[in-house]
Amino acid sequence: MFLFVVRRLFFAVVLLLAVSVFTYLLFALLPTDPAALTCGIHCKPETVLANRIRLGYDKPVLEQYWQFLRGIFVGRDYGLGQTAFSCPAPSLGYSFNQHACVTSLIGETFPVTAFLAIGAFILWMIIGIGVGAIAALNKGKWQDRFATGFAAVGVSLPTFYIGLLVLFSVVIWFQILPFPSYESPLDNFSAFITAMILPWLVLAVLSAASYTRLTRNGMLEAMNEDFVRLGVAKGLRLRVILLRYVMRQALIPIVTIAGLDFAGLLGGAIITESVFSLPGMGRMSIRAVVDSDLPVLVGTTMVAAVFIVAANVIVDIAYGFLDPRVRVSS
């Protein structure tokens, strides 16, 4: 088990390195010139050149990449003389659009994304698994039809459409909630909840849909298992069978996917954050796309990748705990 974890971690680091190389090359080879973008509207060629040198974009791509990697561990310095500044380690670069170190920008926006992700995650697991279980237990009945329909629509409708519809209907037509306006939970907890409840719900309902499907099918499959029949034949109570036998089995694939989905969300819920004006990492990254803010793009991509890879490792290890067959044989 220990060896397994070490191997897994080593592989994760290699994977992250690969991701960073790809990300860096991908953006470095784009036709957009980051120096030109910092130069404003009345841009002269000599200004572009000066900025390119100032930002380090004059160097070969590989050297830039090396500087980037180095920055993560020792920080980076920019500019000269009075306008010099530095981004301390772990530095993911400096955004010339936002005039700040990428690391601190991510530090500012990440909590919002994390709050969004955690709340939505809890809600969607409850809704997804709950509705899925109801569907499985009522297979073929109207509850099942409704749940599968809900799953179908939820999986496939664009988030922005649902988000705006929910926003308009809840806030404008039915006036149940005020317009969401993000507040830090530390400053104003009730405002925080009021602002987050809609994005949580939207994200939860959309993501819950696939969990409904997974839970339903997983449970139906589990109910077919001989060991469940044996459980019944033992005289176990329905609740016990559902929890220890059926759910236990159905939850394993759900845990895997939930881990990855949650990690994906931590990388920024781009559309949800945009629709609900949440100042999170997703919205920052889309702003970076609009502004061609490459350092922020590379930074958020890397952070998102770290979450995904980490989630993979955690899921793999969790798998060992959830399924003894994996644990012992590895």
């Binding site: 994977l15 992250l16 690969a18 991701v19 790809f22 990300t23 991908l26 953006f27 784009l30 036709p31 957009t32 237990l137 297979k139 599968t148 329909g149 799953a151 179908a152 629509v153 999986v155 496939s156 409708l157 664009p158 988030t159 922005f160 459409y161 705006l164 519809l165 308009f168 404008i172 139906l220 109910m223 077919n224 001989d226 469940v228 029949r229 019944v232 329905l238 069978i241 559902l242 059926v246 990855l260 994906g264 990388g267 920024g268 781009i270 559309i271 997703g282 990254s285 889309i286 970076a288 796309v289 793009l297 958020t300 991509t301 998102a304 990748a305 995904i308 890879v309 993979n312």
Partner: protein, 332 residues
């Protein structure tokens, strides 16, 4: 046909599946079951209808005398909003007109269906093809090839795909244009389809690989192998025919997903370029008018929901038909 006492393995619940329907291939059986699902047949009809109207959009539009680009200022009031209730639905504009320009919504919906369905179908086709091929090869060959494909999968999954899709739209569209793809919408569409495939194949491949791993141990594959069948024979004649159930389910789920991704990209201004219509463009445009013209808000949304539901119903029905085990069981 003769039958010894244990010619068909009892499936444990005692519902004698094979006993009841004799002498038909699994495919026929599935089709028979599918045919009985009225709901699914209706959904197939809906999909066929969508494809039909998308294919014949120009003919339908000219028959109805409408156009997706023609401006109709007469249908708008002074402020550019539809000059009549319900988005100015009238005999000349059956679903009303677009605010701001007076373009016919029905015509735009029909032409939009072409774009949306095309993106959906092509992306699904590509992801499925790539995913199935790589998944089967990985699962069947195992060893080094499996490892390489597995690492590719890990790497692909490690990227925040949606962010990259957005971030790379403009630069890659330019790249495509510079290598000869016609400018504008053809290049955008090509990019969308390619990039969706680039990130989408992984999910298909993983499912297919898993299925292949278990199939390759099954008797009929071993039988084929022991008869000296080559790899390509086994993959194409033995494995693939047995993989289409899970693949169809994936297709039925992913196709509407791609349609909705196109919509999201259009909403972000990365989809179709004006004056072309797509459902995404319409959805993105219509949400602004929830107050001024709610009819417009619902039309493209309903069109999309109906399509999505139809695909899901068909997908579920196909799975049920191919996998009768769904019927047996269960105690709880």
């Amino acid at each position: 046909m003769t039958s010894t006492i244990d010619s068909v393995r009892d499936d444990g619940t005692g519902v004698p599946v094979t006993a009841s329907i004799v002498g038909k291939s699994p495919r026929e059986l599935a089709w028979n079951r599918f045919r009985k699902d009225k709901f699914a047949l209706f959904a197939v009809g809906v999909i066929a209808f969508y494809i039909f109207v998308a294919l014949f959009a120009p003919i339908i539009c000219s028959a109805l005398g409408i156009s997706p680009t023609r401006l109709d200022g007469q249908a708008l009031n002074d402020y550019g909003l539809p000059d009549g209730p319900f988005g100015n639905i009238s005999t000349s504009h059956l679903l009303g007109v677009e605010p701001g320009t007076g373009r016919d919504i029905l015509a735009r919906l029909l032409y939009g269906a072409r774009v949306s369905l095309m993106v959906g179908f092509i992306a699904t086709f590509l992801t499925t093809t790539i995913g199935v091929v790589l998944g089967v090869v990985a699962g069947y060959k195992r060893g080094k090839i499996d490892a390489v494909i597995g690492r590719m999968t890990d790497l692909t999954l490690a990227f925040p795909s949606f962010l990259l899709i957005i971030a790379l739209t403009r630069p890659f569209t330019q790249r495509l244009e510079s290598i000869g793809v016609p400018e504008g919408n053809p290049a955008r569409l090509t990019y969308i389809v390619l990039v969706l495939s680039l990130f989408g194949w992984v999910y298909v491949a993983r499912v297919v690989r898993g299925q292949t791993l278990s199939l390759r141990e099954r008797e009929f594959v071993e039988a084929a192998r022991s008869c000296g069948a080559g790899n390509s024979h086994i993959i194409f004649k033995e494995l693939l025919p047995n993989l289409w159930a899970p693949v169809i389910v994936i297709v039925s789920l992913s196709l509407p997903g791609y349609v909705s991704t196109e919509a999201t990209l259009s909403f972000l201004g990365l989809g179709m370029i004006a004056p072309a219509a797509s459902w995404g463009v319409m959805l993105g445009d219509s949400v602004k008018y929830y107050r001024a013209d709610p009819t417009y808000l619902f039309i493209p949304g309903i069109a999309l929901i109906v399509l999505v539901l139809a695909f899901n119903i068909v997908g579920d029905a196909v799975r049920d038909a191919l996998d009768p085990k769904g019927d047996r069981q269960n105690l709880l």
